[in-house]
Symmetry: C2
Subunit: 98 residues, 2 copies
């Protein structure tokens, strides 16, 4: 499993960003290898969002980026936010006991 | 629920950082309101780690930072990495169907 962390600095309203992001998320959820994602918003700065997405492996994520349909999503997102993505492997994953 | 995302830029080896981080994580896991955490490492840059921690609410997380024992962990971590933390609320959380 790999984890994509994509930090968005908004250039539009949070409402507009979430509306555009949701369309990309619907596409991503339909792609092979997608496991789950969580979009979070900063409590300190309302113009900062982070998407945390779990994928089966890096190749699955990269394949989704190369999908012809994804170019339109990239264009739409670029109009409402500046992304800063990176892929990660898991070093530790621990839940509280019980 | 709130989510802490803490991005670490390492100033020591990954092995040393993970060793020091694990001691802080053991402390955090014992604190009221801690739910789970995932430490991830960048596939692009081995000096970048991100800790994603779930807490019941912001007050629980802040209380853990104010715990007398936490000062020692901050000092130890500062010797191996530069942290960049922020707290987030969840905007969307979606898993694949099935």
């Amino acid at each position: 499993m790999v984890i994509l962390i994509n930090r968005f600095t908004l250039t539009a309203s949070p409402e507009k960003f979430e509306e555009v992001f949701e369309k990309t998320a619907v596409f991503m959820r339909s792609q092979p290898g997608f496991i789950r994602h969580t979009l979070v918003k900063s409590l300190r700065d309302p113009s900062i969002y982070v998407n945390i997405a779990h994928w089966e492996d890096a190749a699955d994520h990269i394949r989704s980026l190369q999908h012809p349909e994804f170019a339109d999503h990239i264009t739409a997102l670029a109009e409402v936010a500046t992304p800063d993505p990176d892929l990660y492997s898991i070093a530790q994953d621990v839940a509280r006991a019980g």
